[in-house]
Amino acid sequence: MSAESDMEYSDNDGDEYDYYGEVDDCDMDSVDQSKTDPEYFLFSCLRVEEVEKLLNESIELLSNSLQITPSLAKVILHAYEWNAQEIINKYKENPNEVLIFSRVKSCVPSTPGNSNGSHCAVCANTTLLQKFSALACGHYFCNDCWAMHFEVQIMQGVSNTIQCMAPECEVRAPEDFVLSHVTKPSVRDRYQQFMFKDHVKSHPQLRFCPGPNCQWLFRAWVREGARRVECQGCELLTCFSCGAPHHAPTDCITIRLWLTKCADDSETANYISANTKDCPKCQICIEKNGGCNHMQCGSCRHDFCWVCLGDWKCHGSEYYECSRYKEDPNLASDSQHAQAREALKKYLHYYERWENHARSLKLEEQTLACLKSRINQKVMAGEGTWIDWQYLWDSAKLLKRCRYTLQYTYPFAYYMDNGPRKELFEYQQAQLEAEIENLSWKVERAETTDRGDLENQMDIAEKRRTTLLKDFLDININNASSSKV
């Protein structure tokens, strides 16, 4: 066992392991990661009620210190991205400016007579004057029209930014005004749901977990660079900055380009997604059912690489070239047609590897589930305790983390300019890839692999991963320009 993992176990109160069967809580992440993990990022997972409480604190603070209704406080907070202190300071200097900026008041002096007397300009009806109302801009319309206007806007998904009905008037309707006109319970509910979503979206510290049907939210304080947040509910890894799946070492702009490109070119790349290939030696059809790309033909025992079909022996770590794309040196002089073909070839090279690791991740997910139940059986059968088998579980989790990073090195490399920095990157990428495949091979055969051997392999793979991230993740380096597009 490495010195590092020794530390990790002694940091923990080891006794608790035996009493609490909770496996998920006792992985290696529970130590101080800020020093060892280049992706370390401080954040918290919150439930809807906790976020509501958080928002209400800001609303109450503002409404008390400015002596305004909570509804107005919401409009202002939304406009100022929930920076209550900034609002309070600005309000002391110039309250009018704050009210105009947040569109509580109109920037032009109101022009009365949009509806004159008891005549409503929207429905062209004449009713009692008591049945008219207006926002701070003084544009009066009949209450029936307000109700209809709000209903239409709410059904279109508008909430915080619903405006006055007068042409070119941008004054916003506060919550209490809207709710005093809308009576249908279903529409009121919808309005309040949209309000909450809109508040979260306008709050720089908050973000919804994008997992399907997931109710959790993230809170963090930095909103730039690839920032990993992991959902407590659905375990999805998300980038807090841009909301895409977490993508280190690739930066937020590049991953968007890449994902758009992949979606556009999905037809071209579809044929790659095959799950079977022929053994390069005996041509027998082989199905891939594990995540490891080091394949062994069941028939002729030939060891080969699933990705490039090359002999696995040539994938020895120093000369591992499977991950690197070799450009045609005569390219510049070639015809446009040949250049287009070359561009497609280059893209497919990276896409194939990107896609392949994504599939490996899914397959290894199954391995992890199998492992969990096998460990369970062993413990039940009295073959050791959870703590004895913990390392197997850890190895599978570490494998997942490493391969995830590896997958996201491919878009990074695709958009990188040629040069020494790219060479260094591809060298490290190849090293990482080789160690991950070694680890995957061992994890799939975990129970027959020597424990020390496996732990050694875990250590090497994780070191390769962190080295690559330390050198290339742009939140860790000042000069990230070479990876930007």
């Binding site: 949009n114 300009a121 929207v122 429905c123 062209a124 009806n125 319309f141 029209c145 209809m148 206007h149 209903e151 239409v152 806007q153 009905m165 007068a166 042409p167 070119e168 008037c169």
Partner: protein, 151 residues
């Protein structure tokens, strides 16, 4: 069909009694929410001399939602696409329930006088309008002659 709101009745009456110069808007006999519109190409524009047919439809929640308007006659214009759809702010996010059919038609007429290639709907047309305005105007006149002058 539900009774026609008073607002639509009043607007229709006024459109017939005091029509907007250069524009005719007549409700369909079978559907009072559907208008046959003809806009005369404004003077000193590449559309001068043309008569452009449009259709205008008032949706169920009009005036809370904007009218739906479309050119039926083919027109070469950076803010109008091949299907005749119009890129005009008051038909989208700048719509206000207090605006009227009359204001919409006036805005469309103004759009013919002053095309805005910086906010394009038909990208190829807008592109040409920016890099070679005289050629774009020639095309617009040509289309006006071909599609908007026959009947």
């Amino acid at each position: 069909m539900a009774a026609l709101p008073r607002r639509i009745i009043k607007e229709t009456q006024r459109l017939m009694q005091e029509p907007v110069p250069g524009i005719s808007a007549v409700p369909s006999e079978s559907n009072a929410r559907y208008f046959h519109v003809i806009v005369t190409g404004p003077e000193d524009s590449p559309f001068e001399g043309g008569l452009f047919k449009l259709e205008l439809f008032l949706p169920e929640d009009y005036p809370m939602s904007a009218p739906k308007v479309r050119f039926i006659t083919k027109i070469y214009h950076p803010n109008i696409d091949r299907l005749g759809r119009i890129c005009l702010d008051i038909l989208k996010d700048k719509w206000s329930p207090a605006l009227q059919i009359r204001t919409v038609l006036l805005s469309i007429q103004a759009l013919l006088s002053a095309p805005n290639p910086d906010d394009p709907l038909a990208n190829d047309v807008a592109e040409l309008w920016k890099v070679n305005e005289s050629e774009a105007i020639r095309n617009a006149k040509d289309w006006t002659r071909r599609y908007a002058m026959d009947n």
